[in-house]
Symmetry: C3
């Protein structure tokens, strides 16, 4: 006997419950991924994510909740990304698998079905310090700020600030690497929408390890299709590597899209992918 949940918009519109709620959403996809240096050049790829969100509100108007995902990625399953939070006029305090403030607020988009690894090259310094178990985030008018700390862990501290002006946004971030490594990194991100074109750029630098990384992403939307192009570069002590690619996403409606991309990753391999992404 099956139990079926309605789409939330209909339910919420017809009801005035303030009570605690448990809601579900999901994503799934399948496709093929190509890498001309892999033992199997073509690989099948499939994944599913069920996201569970539990929310409530105190008598005093404080929001609280918890979230986690049940995931399957090419056969490997996990219950993860668990976070617990309280939120009020002061902002939002989150405990759990929060990652770093820089990762949460900065960073550029993926290309194609699986991302092809292009943005990861630009985000290498961000990803290297993406650890934290406590995060504060708040917004003050057009400004947003986030701070994260990995207490009793790597002790990585990260802070990021964003500023939005209409169609444009700016962001800066700083990561102190705690006991993971001596050093720190800073990040700058800028983005803007120019009609049907969206541009994003990120720049990261750590003088402690003489590493600079940057990336650009441009997306052009025409009707149901979005075409994206990305370029990333990382330089470590004068030795540099880059990655680039173009991708297309076609919206099928109902939450599904077809996505494809082709590019060259930082190791010089030609990579491509094609797949359908579904949201529920």
């Amino acid at each position: 006997m099956k139990k079926i949940l309605f789409a939330s918009t209909a339910l919420v519109a017809s009801a005035g419950f303030a009570a605690a709620e448990i809601s579900f959403s999901g994503e799934a996809g399948f496709g093929v991924v190509y890498n001309d240096t892999a033992a199997n050049e073509w690989s099948p790829d499939y994944y599913t994510t069920l996201s569970v969100s539990m929310t409530g509100e105190t008598d005093g108007g404080l929001s609280f909740g918890a979230d986690f995902d049940i995931t399957m990625d090419n056969g490997a399953t996990a219950v993860g990304d668990t976070e617990v939070h309280v939120e009020g006029g002061f902002g939002k305090l989150t405990v759990g698998a929060v990652g770093s403030a820089s990762d949460a607020k900065l960073g550029i988009g993926d290309i194609g079905y699986s991302g092809l690894g292009v943005d990861n090259v630009a985000e290498v310094l961000i990803d290297a310090a993406d650890s934290g178990n406590i995060m504060y985030s708040g917004s003050f008018g057009d400004f947003g700020v986030a701070m994260s700390y990995d207490m009793n862990g790597t002790e990585i501290f990260s802070i990021a600030a964003t500023y939005t002006m209409g169609d444009y946004d700016l962001g800066v971030g700083y990561d102190d690497w705690g006991n993971l490594a001596a050093g720190s990194a800073f990040h700058i991100k800028a983005g803007g929408n120019f009609g049907d074109v969206a541009l994003d750029a990120v720049f990261s630098r750590s003088s402690d390890i003489d590493t600079t990384a940057y990336g650009l992403n441009a997306a052009y939307t025409m009707g149901a299709a979005t075409i994206s192009a990305a370029y990333s570069n990382v330089d470590v002590g004068g030795a540099s590597a880059d990655a680039f690619g173009i991708g297309v996403s076609y919206d099928l409606g109902g939450g599904a899209s077809v996505n494809a991309g082709i590019g060259e990753n930082a190791a010089g391999a030609t990579v491509a992918d094609l797949g359908i992404i579904m949201t529920f």
Copy 2:
């Protein structure tokens, strides 16, 4: 604070939502299993399955979705049987833990509460090649066809076709064992409903390993009770073993049934079981 889902039939009848949905169904059971050759002749048995189904439809009428189970089997838990699919007039394309086409389309029923292993003897050649991560299935009038392939894995390829004529059905299947082993197997299945009696038979043969397996299953339903009898035989190079058993299932209503069986498995052990199976 508990959230309760309604039975789907009531909800679906009163609503016309075409939107993406996440639905849940479940099964659970407990009982005792007997084996006169086991260290503990009587063992308790219990299991639960929560099945999650996420479905949607594109603007063009293409159905898509993903499914997985959260299971517990005598204390061992897993998130598994994950599949992602698209379905249209062309048929259904599924990626994930799809198994083989022969296993999906052929095979005979279980006996008693836990199956007692009788059907497994007849299905030994089907089960041996039950691997795949891509499957196509389609139906054309009374004909059905399925093809599966284990890409970048065992490379087992399986194809099965079925034909339904009123109360009777026929099926054939063929498995190429890929890089699992040199060889292949073919399968034939036939079934029919004769009033309150249902008969099913399956025959498998692999000349590569000189193995023949077959099995018969007869079920007689009178009111809430169904009595089943099964016989299976496997012959490997002239050495044969068989298994047989009888079982009864009594429908308690509301999704629950009491099930019991007794038989002899292929190892010559007397096996029996008694348990309640619940569906939600």
Copy 3:
């Protein structure tokens, strides 16, 4: 696209479905825990629990169901506490992770956000034998009884009986340690509500290992706040250790409460905690 479940009270009131149901409830919390003997004196703490309950009823009025939890505790995830049951006029028969009858029926409350380990000292003999995979429980007027057995496992057998007289309750329990260890233990529990004050006490003794444990818990509720104090003592062959603490819980409404406690555990460490507990 998010799916949202309503609060159950509203749904149940407006519907008369007898059909099988799958329902969800949840709990989450985060806070800090202090221990002056730990390498990191202050530790962050967070957890989430999603509880799944599947229930049905046969045509003959027998209730049946299955329950399990999907949990995350400071990053460690599990699917657990799975139980399958049938329930009728005869009582309730449960199979799965049932623990012992003594643990299910006896025992005293926690202090603060995380319990601080005070009650665990008093319950050391109960917790030592908290194993079982089959439990029967029933109630007969003011009397309740439970029996558990760990079949094909530790073979621990546990039986507990309770008696309720208005605001007062009494309980006794007995555990036979099966093949876990030679010996047994018995337990006595008493409790009562005296206006805004609730008192609970438990006493356990095993002469086989010359061990005596006891504990007291007093709670005083005034408005949204509940103040608790607890004392526990364990004596093994004349060598004794004790633990004590005080805690406060403040109900924020909507299912959330702030909880704090401070005390000394059995190892002589000063322990304290502060956290928010949310129920959904």
